[in-house]
Amino acid sequence: MNLLLVAPILLPLLTAALCLLAWKSVRVQRWLGVAGSAALLASALALFAEVHVRGIAVSHAGEWAAPFGITLAADLLGALMVVLGGIVGLMVSVYSLGSIDEGRERFGFHPLVQILLMGVCGAFLTGDLFNLYVWFEVLLMASFVLTALGGERAQMEGAIKYVTLNLVSSAIFLAALGLLYGLTHSLNMADVSLRLARLNYPALENLLAVLFFIAFGIKAAVFPLFFWLPASYHTMPVSVSALFAGLLTKVGVYALIRVFTLVFRDDVEFVKELMLVVACLTMAVGVLGAVAQMEMRRILSFHIVSQIGYMIIGLALMTPLALAGTVFYLAHHIIVKTNLFLVSGAVARATGSFELKKSGGLYAAQPGLALLFLVPALSLAGIPPLSGFWGKYILVKAGLESGQVVLVVVALAVSVFTMISMMKIWSEAFWKPHPLGLTPAPVGLLNGPIAAMAAMTLLIGFGVEPVMQLAERSAQQLLDPQSYITAVLEARR
């Protein structure tokens, strides 16, 4: 169990170290990157199987017991997120073989991707709030360099916005940690949860909860703190933006789920209300932002924002069904969104531009790629029987059960607008002839990861029953924090 918990963190680190040893040879680094990501996925699946069968897995590094040592803990949600991280990592590693330029590769693209994956997995597996901060920093450091690597003019502009906003978020997170430590004298999540329940300072708790919500909200890109995301994601190389789109905002959502199910359980009604409003606005503003855009990755970036709103709904409602909906939505969204960014790269490769006005003719030239675009696009919009439909269905049902009619109306309206955006991409990039009369070039290897992720989307869509059961089980675990607390604080050896 110890090995399974540390492997998703150690494997990317080892891969990065090996990449540094092979600094001069880009070819070796490429294959190390793919092998490392594949090993990460394998170890994540093994961890997931273990957690699925035996329940929450806990390990205390160096045998220093909680709440003093470094706690690693994986419940179903954490293990599921690590698996998704592994999937995205592997797909992006394979995709980057055919898309990243050699200049970036020579300046450490492959080790940086691995360090980013290590940070992401660490954030999913840690059982300690301060370590969560440290893992955030690890993944942010790697993401800062990946954002700026290459040094193109537009990229630098995006990078500055990205770095600034994320540093602000880290500062708020750190301040909140300081206050929380002052209040409870502990930072181990399980321990803090127990101690907060014994204290009776609702006002301070609400203040802390709001601070955490702002800090993670910036990272998750919720309204009104999302503007760094559409300003920066379209400036990076496709592999990098696909990796970011798939994982980084979702680490923020994961942190929100963890903190608001485990640490702040009662007495934070104010924040729950706030979350509902924010979820509505995030969905609506994100999707409306996308309508005005004509650049493929900018459209997709705004849709990340709007989709984050859906995930916040489930957290705000906090019923078993709603939380299961959030978990389901996370899994569906990570795969679909990464895939759409990968498709955008293939479209740009084939037609020469991310600008919809300057591309076209893909349906006639490459019907296969067009079909592969339709799967994630329709899934994002929520067309049955694809995965996005089920995610939205569950959340809408949970919303109606809680009597949140406004929320449900907004969520459904946003789906329609999402559909409009996707159809805009379809009609411009795929349907209309190329404005310059060019025939789109073949994209070769890039099709592989796109097809694999489209297959996963179909799998979730058609095999919805087991995935939903999984989401429900992990929601039950989240709603019963006592089992997590017991597992962490009473883990022997």
């Binding site: 150690l10 680190l13 170290a17 090996l18 990449c19 040893l21 600094w23 390990s59 050896r493």
Partner: protein, 140 residues
């Protein structure tokens, strides 16, 4: 920089400083010192050498690319946590061996030392990568 005095003294200082950096690393377990501070001292020594002679000489002296040294250190530090897992303990649990010297003195060798040595190499690697690159750019 072309200074006879600096060159002559640096020849002596380099070996002394490197020795001192290893000493700092070794005593770090229970006293002020450790891999980080030792690595910084070693980096400072190498930088001094680069000032007295030139960057190419230092690169040749290091043999490996500075970043590869960092990679090696990272791998060592990572591996130092693994022996603890043999026997079912958690990652990074320390393991110790006692070395008896002929005169009866004891030397405690443990996985934390390996970890410190990894940190030492990472600091040297990254420090040299940054400083040597900057020195080269200034020289151009």
């Amino acid at each position: 920089m072309n200074s006879l005095i600096l060159r002559t003294t640096t020849g002596f200082l380099l070996s002394l400083l490197m020795l001192f950096s290893v000493y700092l690393m070794l005593r770090g377990h229970n006293a002020p010192g450790g891999g980080f501070i030792g690595g910084l001292t070693a980096t400072a020594a190498l930088t001094l050498y680069a000032f007295a002679f030139d960057v190419a000489t230092v690169r040749k002296m290091l043999r490996l690319d500075p970043l590869s040294i960092a990679g090696l250190g990272l791998a060592l530090a990572l591996c130092s946590g693994l022996p603890g897992m043999v026997g079912g303990d958690a990652y990074l649990t320390s393991r110790w061996a006692v070395l008896l010297l002929p005169d009866g003195a004891e030397i405690h060798l443990g996985t934390p030392l390996l970890f410190d040595f990894g940190v030492y190499l990472v600091v040297i690697g990254v420090g040299c990568a940054v400083l040597l690159t900057m020195a080269e750019e200034r020289g151009e």
